[in-house]
Symmetry: C2
Subunit: 248 residues, 2 copies
Amino acid sequence: MANSCLRTGSKKEDPKYVDCDVCRLSPICSPVNVGGHTYDFTGKMVNRRHYFKKGEVIFQQGEQAALIYAISAGSLKLITEVKGSSRVIDFRIPGELVDICSLNEGIYNYSAQALEDIYLCEIGKETLNDIASQIPEVQGRLMKVVSQELTNIQTSSMLLHGNVSSEEKIAAFILNLAWRYLNSGYSSTDFKLNMTRNDIADFLGLSKETVIRLFKKLQENHLIQIDGKKVHIPDINNLQYFVGIELI
Amino acid sequence: MANSCLRTGSKKEDPKYVDCDVCRLSPICSPVNVGGHTYDFTGKMVNRRHYFKKGEVIFQQGEQAALIYAISAGSLKLITEVKGSSRVIDFRIPGELVDICSLNEGIYNYSAQALEDIYLCEIGKETLNDIASQIPEVQGRLMKVVSQELTNIQTSSMLLHGNVSSEEKIAAFILNLAWRYLNSGYSSTDFKLNMTRNDIADFLGLSKETVIRLFKKLQENHLIQIDGKKVHIPDINNLQYFVGIELI
DNA sequence: CGCGAGATTGAGTTCTCTCAACTTCTGTGG
DNA sequence: CCACAGAAGTTGAGAGAACTCAATCTCGCG
């Protein structure tokens, strides 16, 4: 029930938490100056680094949305129920927010499931809204967070939508991840695909065989190098040219 | 240069302006209560119903983004340059905002072009931000507008992304429009497609022939009725079941 | 070491695209 | 008001892309 920061008694190495200053919520977690005094509301609002096991469901579609999540370490997938089976809507990596949308909604529109062992910071929606409505500085920062998120979602959606060939779709998917890793302070040219080929296929509306074959084709064309879950982008500009959008 | 409200001396009938209260910007355009007094900043910020001709470009990708637009009448398409040719990113209908993203960005990420004669309300970004930063009530309302927009974009993107078959993609496109017309106070079951088949194809990453053939197939399956640019949805629940998402 | 999930490969089928011809619609000028 | 030109929409045929199904391989975990 209580915060389980660093609950890891496991044999695995300690996770590499993302720095708070790359987290999209950092404006909210920083101290605020009000009438000459500095206040830190973090303790009131934020439950830091709550641990979830690989495969665990963080929240379920339809549940009351009381918390906003930011990923401190690990990654997760967002899924929704479609005609009895589930479909992957998106992925989230360290530093990113999970459901800022729920700020003005009562319930979660999708479920979230851990792709690996993860640590999430949780923010109480109600407390946040209360504080924001009383302190303009916090309101302003929240505004910044939300509009940044709006820009990010729009950029991602622009990138992933409307590609003609499946090869472009997959290239766009990789480029999108590269860009997001960069935004979170990681390498944009070397990263790990934490999701399965099936998840990727499901997300892109392709079959997993097509994903595998087109990964291979992209590799043959020297646009990416892929070895299992590890991706390397030899020349990001080539990839961007192929996708047709300059992000980085 | 100045506002050209009701410049219509043309032979066409007067456009049916959308009611201000369905406009996504209406919270911003409503009077504000500050310390017991009521202020109306609308005059300061908003240039109402600026007329643009069919085909006219409202703003160009890369330009300084000084204005936010809300559509009062008519519709437009958003396009971006990809490898020398342009690609349709999205459409906007009356009551919707055109580029709220530019709030925290310096330049437009895409161009906007009128699909028919349109009237746009323009809001000065800088003035809006100034007023918002001084008056918490306005800040809060702006927050509402932006997070509503975030939810809308995410819903649309969830709906349109990840469909396996092209038939589902097109059905999702129609359902998305139905939902958006509903949100703007129009009929969700009868509306007009103001864009060409080519625009739709481009937006969905299909060929125009496929769009035409699948419109026909959807009609044969009684999911939609389509006659030129007019669409009728006989049973919205059937369509939603086919797409696999319950929106309305 | 063995099991099971995930990844890969091949073969055949289905879907979607491209190209080209043709029709319909729309707007303009006479 | 009509004629015409260009844009948009439609249809058919053949080529190419992506899907499905089934078999096999690999790797991590107990």
